[in-house]
């Protein structure tokens, strides 16, 4: 059933958007206009030592903005934790069948390794702290689904998730403050004296891999914390009913 009111709103919106988007400058014109983009594309590797310019923007040019992103995840975890009270719940699922448990068990180290690879190669290839952190978070969620959340709680307890999340954020701040004390400004990279290395090597780009690792730990622990807060609460509802 199509509701007429929604059509009255949507069709004019689509028409207006069509006109607005067709008036945008072409990509070639835009490239001439974007001063920051031109500078980053020309000097990004020199400025930061990172081959991946997106990572260079994320952890160097706009490092302060990334601190804000990390805070967004932190506040999401905090609000979900506030909504679902902190008391520990006794019993959750028993997990899936033995076959699933065995085969996922064989895969777990490799999934962890893929996450680690993506985090640590963020300055060289597509990836970085956020993407790898999501893989780590989904690994923890997978453990909870396949083995039951009681077992997953034994692997990485709730307290250690909280500690990892806070440590990731604090280490990010600490690495930023190093720049402040070295005279380069908050979250400064090469200006703070972090070694540039050879661009393209795994140990290069100064503080970017370290920041990436901290963000990865924080995002992984944060997403797992959100999932377990919800799933434990859901289990309790089922027990009541």
């Amino acid at each position: 059933m199509i509701k007429p009111l929604s059509i009255v709103v949507l069709v004019p919106l689509a028409v207006v958007l069509c006109f607005a988007l067709s008036a945008l400058p072409t990509p070639a014109e835009r490239k001439e206009l974007g001063i920051a983009s031109k500078h980053i594309r020309a000097h990004g590797v020199n400025d930061t030592g990172a081959m991946n310019l997106v990572a260079a923007v994320l952890f160097d040019y706009r490092g302060f903005d990334t601190l804000g992103e990390v805070t967004v995840i932190f506040s999401a975890v905090a609000s979900v934790g506030l909504l679902f009270s902190v008391r520990r719940l006794p019993n959750t699922s028993e997990g899936l069948s033995t076959i699933t448990k065995r085969s996922i068990g064989a895969l777990v180290p490799f999934i962890f390794l893929v996450g680690f690879y993506i985090v640590m190669h963020g300055h060289l290839s597509p990836g970085g702290g956020f993407q790898g952190g999501v893989i780590w978070g989904s690994l923890l969620i997978l453990l909870g689904i396949v083995y039951g959340s009681r077992y997953a709680e034994g692997v990485v307890a709730k307290e250690s998730r909280t500690v990892m999340e806070s440590l990731g954020a604090l280490a990010f701040l600490g690495l930023g403050c190093v720049g402040l004390f070295a005279g380069g400004g908050f979250l400064a990279n090469l200006a703070a004296g972090y070694p540039r290395g050879t661009p393209g090597a795994i140990t290069s780009a100064g503080v970017i891999p370290l920041l990436s690792l901290m963000v990865g730990i924080k995002i992984g622990a944060g997403l797992a914390a959100i999932f377990y807060a919800m799933v434990n609460e859901g289990m309790e509802v089922d027990n009541d009913a």
């Binding site: 988007l21 945008l24 999401a76 956020f130 393209g200 997403l223």
Partner: protein, 116 residues
């Protein structure tokens, strides 16, 4: 006005339609996520012209001068958007769970009926 922008507009309108007409809270959350992916598509499309390379320098030391990279800034901003998407989706879903615990339904019309 190309097909990419058209797809973004279509996705945005679909998501908005979903948010305006559905009464199931999960479907509303899905609609908001569809709208967010429309914005994401728009941002990434904005960053690149046809033929642009991803903004990652190749490993070899002598980069051919003909390579044109896509604009890295909108891509970094779209990463910000993904993170915020994840955060607000988590919070929206927690509210849905809380509403379900109070009302035993996630249908908005049903919840309004119970309230009156």
């Amino acid at each position: 006005m190309t097909l990419d922008y058209g797809t973004a507009i279509a996705l945005l309108c679909l998501g908005l339609y979903c948010v305006m007409t559905k009464t199931d809270l999960i479907k509303i959350v899905i609609g908001i996520n569809i709208m967010e992916s429309a914005i994401l598509l728009f941002l990434v499309r904005l960053a690149a012209a046809p033929g642009d390379r991803a903004p990652i320098y190749p490993a070899e030391s002598n980069v051919p001068p003909a390579i044109v990279f896509a604009d890295p800034i909108p891509q970094a901003l779209s990463l910000t958007q993904i993170v915020i998407n994840a955060a607000i989706t988590a919070i929206m879903l927690s509210f849905v769970v809380k509403l379900y615990q109070s009302y035993r339904t996630i249908d908005l019309a049903e919840i309004r009926r119970i309230q009156h």
